[in-house]
């Protein structure tokens, strides 16, 4: 896991105080976790994690429908958390982060966008390697 470059991007994002958890996910599946999995999530989300996972799946239904026509971001608030979805264009996958409800989302969003761009670059490089081989 520590060798997975996407996991390393998630590790960096998780170091921000206001990011409680992050992952690359799609409906019914978490594709990439940070290097230490859910152990590295901040303890504040332990109580709410199961509910959030279920809610995420419902949101991914919408993402699946509309990512092909330009759906870029989604978010919802559940209890004291907000869940942010940064969709990878034309896919059903998204970078997902859970933040406290009153956090400074604007600045977190800048780093979410940077993480999305880095992960896209990694994914594109992997695809190119597959094509070349």
């Amino acid at each position: 896991m520590h060798d997975d470059p996407i996991a390393c991007v998630l590790d960096d994002l998780l170091k921000l105080d206001d990011v409680l958890a992050c992952m690359v996910a799609r409906r019914n599946m978490i594709s990439v976790m940070p290097s230490d999995g859910t152990d590295s999530f901040k303890p504040e989300i332990n109580e709410i994690w199961d509910i959030i996972k279920r809610a995420m799946d419902d949101v991914f239904t919408v993402i699946g429908e509309y990512s092909g026509v330009g759906l870029g971001e989604m978010e919802f608030r559940l209890q004291d958390c907000e869940v942010l979805f940064y969709v990878f264009p034309d896919t059903e996958n998204a970078l997902v982060a859970i933040v406290p409800a009153l956090s400074n989302k604007g600045l977190i969003a800048v780093e979410m966008e940077n993480a999305r761009r880095e992960i896209l670059e990694i994914m594109n490089r992997k695809e190119e390697l597959l094509v070349d081989s």
Binding site: K15, G106, E111
Partner: protein
């Protein structure tokens, strides 16, 4: 560059403070052919833990030539040639043969803003008294406001109870600066700086963390300071380019400040009614929404800055609520207040207006300051600002930093502290 003026921008995203310092210095000065004549250094707050910024600055000086004039501070975010970041460190360095540079600082800005400004100015004037290349500019970096940690109450910039609010408005605001906390008083500092350096072009702003207003730092030379103003005075033989625009529009909503205290920084009555009650009524915010302060600050008041009839170059906003009283970020400049509003499109328009009618062909660098509130508002869409900047200055080293408040001005139109502005500094190297 035929003129010999060189500039470079570098950065680091390393988490280790010392390594980040080394990398930002190295990545900046390696692009120059000679040592820098000045070095601007900005960091987000992520090295705040004990000794973090000390280690960071030590790392910078592991690489930077000794005695390089350096100033800087903590910012919430920045944009440079490499991207948009709300975590990291960045620098802009300039080297040139026909330049004199001086550093200045003043401490205890929240308690004695004018004394701090005066001390700073004296250092600048002394440092630049020999020689005169004819064009002067000052980059000023002032400690922004901080919310004090009150025993048994925690950090609060709003006090619900009327009695508590009254006490805080009369006693608290006067006590907090004794401990280095409270309003930044950047307006007093900039007013005084511009009065003493009336032939200078100005650009700068006030430091902050991520907007929580817990702490912020300023850098000068090898020092990490708090609650201070630091400045870099430059005397150069190239004409200075400076522009400052407001990225907000006026609404048809006005009201009168009918009573204020603490040198017009705290409004006690609006239209002869208790200030908070009247202001919330004007914004159509109910008490329940107000109680969810995050809603108010991030979704409403950020979009409602204010200005003053007849003095529209001054803008400020609400910094807190103390009982029935409203604390402004800066002192009110008039009685009649006009509400402003901001949209993301407006921010982009201001960037476009800055560059569309000028030629940047001979700009060796571009340094810009703007409000942190624009970054809050735009979030990931802040890349639209970068895309706009790249349309005009992609091949020039550029750096835009987001401050708590900004200031910029010319000798003909002196700088004032305000928010929601977009400010640009360069020099014309073809002369």
């Amino acid at each position: 560059m035929g003129s010999g003026l060189e500039a470079a921008v570098g950065m680091s995203r390393k988490w280790d403070a010392r390594e980040a310092g080394r990398e930002v210095a190295r990545s900046t000065i390696e692009k120059l052919n000679r040592p820098p004549d000045f070095f601007l250094l900005f960091s987000t707050i992520h090295y705040k833990n004990p000794n973090g910024f000390r280690d960071f600055l030590d790392g910078v000086w592991d690489v930077l030539p000794a005695d390089t004039p350096l100033i800087g501070g903590t910012v919430a975010a920045f944009i440079n040639n490499y991207g948009c970041f709300s975590r990291g460190v960045t620098a802009l360095a300039v080297s040139y043969s026909n330049i004199n540079v001086a550093l200045g600082f003043g401490r205890n800005t929240k308690l004695h803003p004018r004394n701090a400004a005066k001390h700073c100015v004296n250092m600048i004037k002394n440092g630049l008294k020999t020689g005169d290349y004819g064009n002067k500019f000052l980059i000023d970096i002032i400690s922004g406001p901080t919310v004090p940690n009150i025993p048994f109450m925690g950090r609060k910039n709003f006090v619900k109870s009327k009695v508590g609010g009254s006490f805080a408005s009369s006693v608290g605001v006067r006590v907090f600066p004794l401990f280095g906390h409270g309003l930044g008083k950047e307006d007093d500092i900039v007013d005084y700086l511009t009065s003493l350096l009336s032939d200078y072009y100005f650009i700068g702003g006030s430091t902050l963390d991520t907007g929580d207003m817990f702490m912020n730092y300023q850098f000068i030379g090898e020092q990490v300071l708090k609650n201070s103003v630091v400045a870099l005075g430059v005397d150069i033989d190239k004409p200075v380019f400076l522009d400052s625009m407001l990225g907000a529009h006026q609404l048809d909503i006005e009201f009168d400040i009918t009573e204020s205290i603490y040198k017009n920084r705290i409004i006690t009555k609006i239209d002869d009614k208790p200030a908070k009650e009247r202001f919330l009524g004007i914004l159509r915010i109910n008490e329940e929404q107000f109680n969810e302060l995050g809603v108010f600050y991030y979704k409403t008041s950020n979009y409602f800055p204010i200005t003053f009839r007849g003095k529209e170059k001054y803008t400020t906003g609400v910094a807190g609520f103390l009982g029935d009283n409203i604390v402004l970020g800066h002192k009110a400049r008039g009685q009649r207040v006009k509400l402003l509003s901001v949209t993301g499109k407006e921010v982009l328009n201001v960037v476009e207006k800055t560059f569309q009618n000028i030629s940047t062909d001979f700009f060796p660098f571009v340094f810009m300051s703007t409000s942190n509130i624009f970054f809050n508002m735009l979030g990931e869409k802040v890349y639209s600002i970068k895309n706009k900047l790249d349309e005009y200055i992609k091949d020039i080293p550029y750096l835009l930093v987001s401050f708590a408040t900004e200031n910029a001005g010319t000798p003909a139109d002196p700088a004032v502290t305000r928010v929601y502005s977009f400010n640009t500094l360069s020099v014309n190297s073809c002369f």
